[in-house]
Amino acid sequence: MASNTLYSPRDPALKKRDDFEDILEERRSSSDLRYALRCYVPVVYKGIAPCKPGVLKTAVLQSDRLRHVVAEMSKETGESADVIREEASGILEEMAHRLRLGTVRFFAYSLSKAFKALFQRVRVNEDGIQRLQQSIQEHPVVLLPSHRSYMDFLIMSYILYTYDLSLPVIAAGMDFLGMKIVGEMLRMSGAFFIRRSFGGDKLYWAVFSEYVKTMLRNGYAPIEFFLEGTRSRTCKSLTPKLGLLNIVMEPFFKGEVFDVSLVPISISYERVLEEALYARELLGVPKPKESTSGLLKARKILSEDYGSIHVYFGHPVSLRSLAQGRINRSQYNLLPRHIPRRPSQETQAFVNETAYRLVRLQEENMVLRPWVLVAALLLQNPDGVDMERLVEQTSWLRGLAVSFGAFLDWPDYVSASKAVASSLALHTGLVRTEGGRAQLAMEPKEPGSPEEDLFDRAASVLSCASYRNQILHVFLRPALLGMAMQMAEASRKDDIYSCFSFLRDVFSNEFILCPGGTVQDFDEACYMLTKCAAVHVQKQEVVATEKGQRILSFLTSLFQPFLKGYQVVCRFLCEDAPEGFPESEYVAAVRSFAVKRILSGELTCYEALSSDVQKNALAALLRMKVVRKLKVGDQVTLRVNKVAANTLENKLGGRVSTQKALLARL
């Protein structure tokens, strides 16, 4: 069954993946209009024709769950039930999609035009489409694409339309509604809108979850949402958000559906449309508000070449098989099913673990272009590198990545020099090639103040890093082992394991590391490094081999920027952070601290300026209780345990040899 794909096979390099088909090819040779107006008859769940959006709304408003919550709220607030019901109806009106075939056809037409202008190819694994088609007929389907760009959900709907599959309903952020006409058009092409935060609003939560569940139960349409919650600005997967996943799993837990198919989908871009925007955003230039005029202005991007897109539909994962032996569904027997209740701890743990697994499945099937390897190498050589050497290194790295199971789009007949050359050509904005040397484009176009120059340089480093980030998941576990070996300064397996576990813990907000999977990850790392003969694993010891030095030093320096970034944050907290400073000022304060250190030459790592790293570091510190949040009035302030922060920094910098006692304190 679908579930056994969850455990990666022992040898990642032998992973079998489907072939791709380019869906734009046909679009380039036949009429877009005819394509948009063609007969569209998707297969449906169990052959049941989906109801009209209006019927759906009534079903939600009259559901037991909503009636219960309305009655409860009316009792609590003293408000009449009718008023609350009215409010609920208003929420639903704001939220609900109004899928209309006409709008879909309009999108089919205009997106065909746009895609052809933007991309060379949009490639899809057709086997995955076939599996999906099968799933849609059998069980309610949840589509879980990765999220790197606004394009993601347009692409998804476009592909499903192309293959005559039922169009998904998509959970979108309310911010889209700010765009006047476009918001409504998205609504009519299947998007439904949810507020970014509604923590305490019981009614909102009830309407929202009932709406999603009703669609799922009826097999109304595939439900699509982004596990990562928001677009990843760094091109590496974000730790999953669990709210919606909880909601779509509940009907299964409560026996309302037999099973739910979770389909991880990996969408990989050769160049993300928002590339330049993201780097600015990470450096603190705020994200432009979504607006229609903004979108029109963005038209100029139509003239650029964004390479190809790969969309990989993973194997549908059966929730039932996942939950087998994990979730005791009879726990729901004693409470009427419409009464909401907090999921039990075992359920929460299960949902969390499943979310991580799904994100990992997304990562595994991300297609990587040769440029990603080149970017990783260029970042490790900020002073530039000879072309010849670059080609040699890229070729070496390719071998390593493939043996670690990377999904490289680099056919055998393309030579390394050709691949490197074409990569550099597509990314001229980021690389400078002069006199047989390649170097990151760091010199500002027009010199300004030292600070402006610094930000310019940082922007291009971060852009480049966003490509390197795409391959991190391949190397993450072996690299953690490599760093642990360095940190432990000994070859005893136990010591290395405890360092590994420490690093894994520190970085678990930064990378996709399933909670509780330390042992498994450690084994996997040992296996991978043993396989490429970089280390020698014995019963008690892990020893680096002669040949392994190159691999290990590449791996450790690949992750060096993160180590540095976290150290900077610790240093800031020790030295610069005033007692009890407000959380809202944290990012700006760390940034200016880092800027000072770079300007003074103490720090060379530009990635420490990335707000993403800074936020993840804070989350890690909060989790490790080095920093605590205190609520003072409306303000949330941070209180730092300076001793712990200092110790942590030293440990990350490898300045203190491992001591168990210290570990225990952390």
Binding site: M1, G255, E256, F258, N328, R329, S330, Y332, N333
Partner: protein, 656 residues
């Protein structure tokens, strides 16, 4: 005069025609095989012969007046294997078979369907299971009359001291292989399958037939004195492995057959109660009460064979519980013999508040605490009028909604059952050959009206069968009320005949399983009870789970997984599943069957269903007892067992 021979090999030659007083000559068919049989005489030569029954006791021919027919006669008839199959369900003379023309027939004369040809059963059978008449899987030791191969039965290990004392009491007993094997099993699939293969596991070492309460007291007393294991045996219709002997039991196992205790001791017309010995079989109890103008109204589907004591010991439920109540509502007083002594209440007050009801320790104890010997049971005057009915619904969801509404308004008829589409089609396959063109024309017209005119999809529609009872006027009024509710849910009245056929199905289904087993099809039924809001989800999920498990376990053909809602309550319903599949190509079909059934039960529990509504737990389902009633609950039951039966004399090991 020719009698059909039930060994299936020939017929009884006319010279063997008995005289009413003729006793002693065995019935031998032309194949020279001893056939014991139970044939109604209908020869006009004998005046009043319709009232006589030809029967045989251990190969000896006896003609007796009809009112003694064998079940009443069971007092002199120790060996039921004379009239009942030892390796299948029910009477030896009643069975399904495919005749030479490939049409299904039901033999015998006992049922409405008996002697009829069922033309559409073959097609249904072949298309549902992918089975074929060419592929037969006959029982290895088959032949209905032939006695089993006694040499294959393990030798009894007897407790000599116990035997000596038992002899002195004069209570009849036997250690013949036939008697012992017959009482070593219920009717679970694996039990019957093993019998057909001629495999016998641990069987009782001895069978005793106590004649009255005092006999039971003596037997239990002796058993305690000599440390002998007792397993009470009533009708033998258990489907929970409750009658299986624990294979590792080293003591002598004695099967205590209650069949000889089948008298109605008194009827109290003032209080409308009857005091009955617990060995009486359902149909006898009903018939004997009917003679006095009364009935109990307790009609489980197994009532032809199951006994009053068995009902009490398993918390049985009857089809007409809406009018008469389940066994716990019917019982007024119980007498049970335990190793510790006799337990009973001192009065017959209709309701008491004297601590936890001790009846509830007895009901559902499944033979682990003692033997029920006498029961005072409520009786009712026989209903003046009975009427069947049926309603067609466009789909199962509407049907369930209607049943829920009927339950809400508390106007359920004596029985109301809702079959799903697969079962509806199954029922249709059992339609006998129509006698006239006119009827077939009418059937066609009905079908046209429902599917074309009313737009019901024949692959989704489902049928509720109804049975009304009471005085005529009230029945008609009640009928109207129910049909009005049904109409609100899109239900169309579909005639008495469909209703009646639905109920007949439940009596012959067990015979059908034997037919299936002749053609590589195995199956069984199981049941649960579930709150109303989860009925639909549970039905869908369990059926889907069955299909999925079968596929994953390598069953080559899609299984039959079908259900019906058979009882309605204020807070929920009882759901009954049939599950069967074609096992060609499987090495160990019974094992796979067991695993799928296990998975189905897990699914039931996960969907808010109960472990059992009326079949009981036995040994088959005791694995789930702790999670069903909590560890403390188990402890409660254990402590009762500990006190009542410290030496585990009643060692069937059911329940706990």
């Amino acid at each position: 005069m020719l009698f059909p021979c039930l060994c299936g090999l020939g017929s009884l030659v006319s010279s063997q025609t008995p005289k009413p007083c003729c006793l002693g000559s065995p019935i031998v068919c032309e194949r020279q095989r001893v056939c014991s049989t139970d044939v109604w005489l209908s020869d006009p030569q004998y005046p009043g012969a319709e009232a006589m029954v030809l029967t045989a006791i251990r190969g000896e021919l006896v003609v007796i007046p009809v009112e003694w027919s064998w079940l009443t006669l069971s007092r002199v008839l120790f060996s039921r294997q004379e009239v009942m199959k030892w390796n299948g369900w029910g009477y030896s003379d009643s069975r399904f078979l495919f005749n030479k023309k490939g049409q299904a027939e039901f033999t015998g004369r006992r049922y409405r369907l008996s002697g009829m040809v069922l033309p559409s059963l073959k097609d249904w059978f072949e298309s549902t299971f992918g089975a074929s008449l060419q592929h037969k899987s006959p029982a290895t030791v088959s032949s209905m009359c032939a006695t089993l191969n006694a040499s294959a039965v393990p030798f009894p290990s007897l407790n000599e001291a116990f035997l000596q004392d038992l002899k002195s009491t004069g209570i009849p007993f036997s250690h013949e292989a036939e008697d012992r094997v017959f009482r070593a099993h219920g009717h679970c699939l694996h039990e019957i399958f093993a019998l057909r293969e001629g495999k016998f596991g641990r069987v009782p070492d001895l069978v005793v037939w106590p004649n009255c309460h005092e006999d039971v007291v003596k037997t239990v007393d002796l058993a305690c004195r000599h440390n002998v294991c007792l397993i009470p045996y009533g009708g033998g219709t258990s489907v929970s492995s409750a009658l299986e002997c624990p294979p590792d039991e080293t003591r002598c196992i004695v099967s205590l057959d209650t069949s000889q205790m089948s008298r109605i001791l008194w009827i109290d017309e003032k209080n409308l109660t009857a005091h009955v010995e617990a060995g009486i079989v359902g149909q006898d109890l009903e018939r004997l009460l009917n003679e006095s103008g009364y009935c109990t109204g307790h009609e489980p589907d197994s009532m032809e064979f199951s006994s009053l004591g068995g009902w009490v010991a398993t918390r049985a439920s009857g089809m007409k519980k809406n009018v008469y109540g389940n066994i716990e509502d019917l019982v007024v007083h119980i007498k049970m013999v335990c190793p510790r002594g006799v337990v009973e209440k001192s009065c017959q007050g209709p309701r008491v508040s004297i601590g936890p009801d001790i009846h509830h320790f007895i009901m559902g104890s499944e033979g682990t605490l003692g033997v029920v010997t006498e029961v005072t049971i409520k009786i009712r005057p026989m209903p003046e009028y009975q009427k069947y009915g049926s309603v067609v619904f466009p789909n199962f969801e509407q049907g369930v909604a209607c049943l829920r509404e009927v339950a809400k308004q508390r106007c359920a008829p004596a029985s109301i059952r809702l079959m799903d589409n697969a079962q509806f089609q199954f029922g249709h396959a059992l339609k006998p050959q129509v006698s006239s063109i006119f009827t077939s024309f009418l059937d066609g017209l009905k079908k046209f009206y429902i599917t074309k005119f009313k737009g019901f999809d024949p692959h989704h529609l489902c049928v509720a069968t109804l049975l009304f009872e009471g005085d005529r006027e009230r029945v008609l009024q009640h009928e109207k009320q129910v049909y009005d509710i049904a109409a609100k849910f899109g239900g169309l009245a579909a005639g008495e005949d469909n209703g009646q056929r639905g109920y007949m199905l439940t009596f012959v289904i067990a015979y059908l399983r034997d037919l299936g087993m002749d053609y590589y099809v195995i199956g069984e039924s199981f049941e649960t009870s579930v709150p109303w809001d989860r009925v639909l989800d549970l039905c869908r999920n369990v059926k889907e789970r069955i299909v999925r498990e079968c596929r994953e376990r390598g069953v080559q053909f899609p299984p039959l997984a079908t259900c019906r809602v058979t009882q309605t309550y204020d807070a929920g319903a009882c759901v009954y599943f049939y599950f069967a599949f074609n096992y060609r190509g499987l090495a160990d079909p019974v094992n796979i069957y067991g695993r799928v059934e296990h998975a189905a039960r897990e699914e039931i529990l996960a969907n808010g269903g109960s472990l059992s509504h009326h079949h009981g737990v036995g040994k088959l389902r005791k694995h789930w007892m702790p999670e069903s009633i909590s560890d403390v609950g188990i402890g409660m039951l254990k402590s009762v067992k500990e006190y009542v039966d410290p030496d585990n004399i009643f060692g069937s090991r059911n329940l706990l």
